[in-house]
Amino acid sequence: MRELLLCPPDHYGIEYEINPWMSRARGADTPLVQAQWKGLYETLSKLDAKVHLIPPKERLPDMVFTANAGLTVGRKFIPSNFRHQERSGEAPLFAKWMEERGYEISWLPSNLYFEGEGDALFGGDALFCGYKFRTDINSHRAVADLLGCLVISVELVDPRFYHIDTCFCPLTDGGAMWFPAAFDEYGQRAIRDHLPNLIDVPEEEATGFCCNAVVLDHDIVLPEGARSVIAQLRDRGYSCHPLPMSEFLKAGGACKCLTMHMPQRESCA
């Protein structure tokens, strides 16, 4: 059974602006926030996954986006070094919570920005890591050293897709769905070289964050509204579970941002 980490959205809100989606003038609707998050929690809980909850903390509105807590492989947890001061308070809380559950904590050097699963997703035999907006490419090397895995570093070029998990979603059949224009041409080539069977997502569905999906074997939990992508995924035998995510999209996040795998992979071998 897969284990996942979520954080209730009790303190969630648009309190600052650190990506193009955020606007303090367009706040989140609190009852809708609770309802949408609960929808995700219940959907994941029903899909053969054990969902852990970390207590939320006031003045850390983005703690709800647990994908950015860090990266877990086996019993090893690499906490994030957030680029923005606004989120840096989350890192020690996640690290402490994981440590208390017996995970080995491996911090990266503090000068290397790294935003966890948000910028590090396993696909095929490699760990695909995004860089530029939030994560430094030099942190990729440190992660590769810690985990002993092949890291494919890809540059993100569209600020709307500031983490790799906003525009790229590896699938369990070894393929992935992605929005190619979010990557530079070298990144596109590197991804194509390493992953077969890519599903190119049209821009109107990519901006609905359909790539920000939680993949559990043949179940895919994703924001609603991605008609063509869902059709293609169903053709490949996946069961899709579209959910309303409007209140989290206001902060530039959706299903995957709200979820961290514990672990994402058992090992890199």
Partner: protein, 414 residues
Amino acid sequence: MSSETVELRGHIIDSLILPKVLDEILTRGAEFTIAEIRIGQNRVDQSYARIDVSSASNDALGDLLLRLRQHGAEVVERKEVQLAPAPADGVFPEDFYVTTNQQTFAQIGGKELAVESPMMDSAIVVNRDGRTARSVKFYEVRKGDDVVVGQQGIRVQAAERETSHTSVFNFNNQISSETPKTAIIRELAGEFQRIRKEHGQILVVAGPAVVHTGAGAYLESLITHGYVQRLFTGNGLAVYDVESALYGTSLGVNLEHGALSDAGHVNHMRAINRIREAGGIAEAVEQKILTRGIMHACVRQGVDIVLSGSIRDEGPIPGVTTDAVEAQRIMREKVRDVALVLMMGSMLHSIAVLNMVPATVKIVCVDIDPRVVNRLTSYQPFQAVGLVTDVKPFLRELTENIEASAGANGAAVA
């Protein structure tokens, strides 16, 4: 040119980061050399590349490095040069760095200084107060001078190579005696004109064959038209030129008829004597004793003449520097701003000059002996052209081309 060395580490091959970085360098008009590369053997092994990057200006390089840093390139901090004091006048410390003729840089006090007067087979002396570095020969070094030892902190920047598509000056370009030379000489004439248009300085290194073969009048014409700013030669050319100006012979041979003149063998002795009597070559021109020839044209045009002597010299004619080390020093002074050297029929003077000039200076070697041409062009393989030919037809064709072209443009170069 500004340069830095950067390092890339990680899965730079699978991620295509290495080609991306190299493309970025070229796209921005900069250049690179891969100094070292190690490719990981297994799938998870990381790779490493050390890349020397150079760009036209400091600002352009700074912008480029900023971009390369985003892709993980780390600028390598340069180590300082190591210095040791010269143990005595004229003696370098053990393990002193021996220069090439390429532009060389020394890392001193956190900055990279261009070594002044790059020349082959010298040492580098650093003036810490003045924060300068210059190449020096044995006789110039004084006890206690700070001399660079070892290789650390030294960077050599190879001169840009011309390709055969753009220039006659390209890798080991030697035109044999059996190759038509018209196109090459026409291109050289264009090069002479281009250099003079940009106020560049042209040095001619010539041996007595120029006079013996009857080519003196063509060299005289080049000088008169402003295409020679320096003339390095020995006692011989000066003596035979004066002899031919005064008596119409070169070592007794009538230059018109090609036959030995009556008692012609004494003419060069009389020529030397006339110049000694006048007080020197310039004085002989002033006193209208010397009214034509190469030396006469040089004096009239204000060409710097350096006459350096050898053991077999008769005379010598006044103006010859007989101390070889002193002659080298004078020549070194006078090659500093030279853009092109034309070497004709003189191996030893030419080798001396090749040891003094940086690799950016263009070299034209003309000699009837292919071994000489081969030897001379090998000193400066990227910027030299060698022509195996008698000097006279070469000079005749060169001057005709220059005059035709100058006439067509309606202007002579002063």
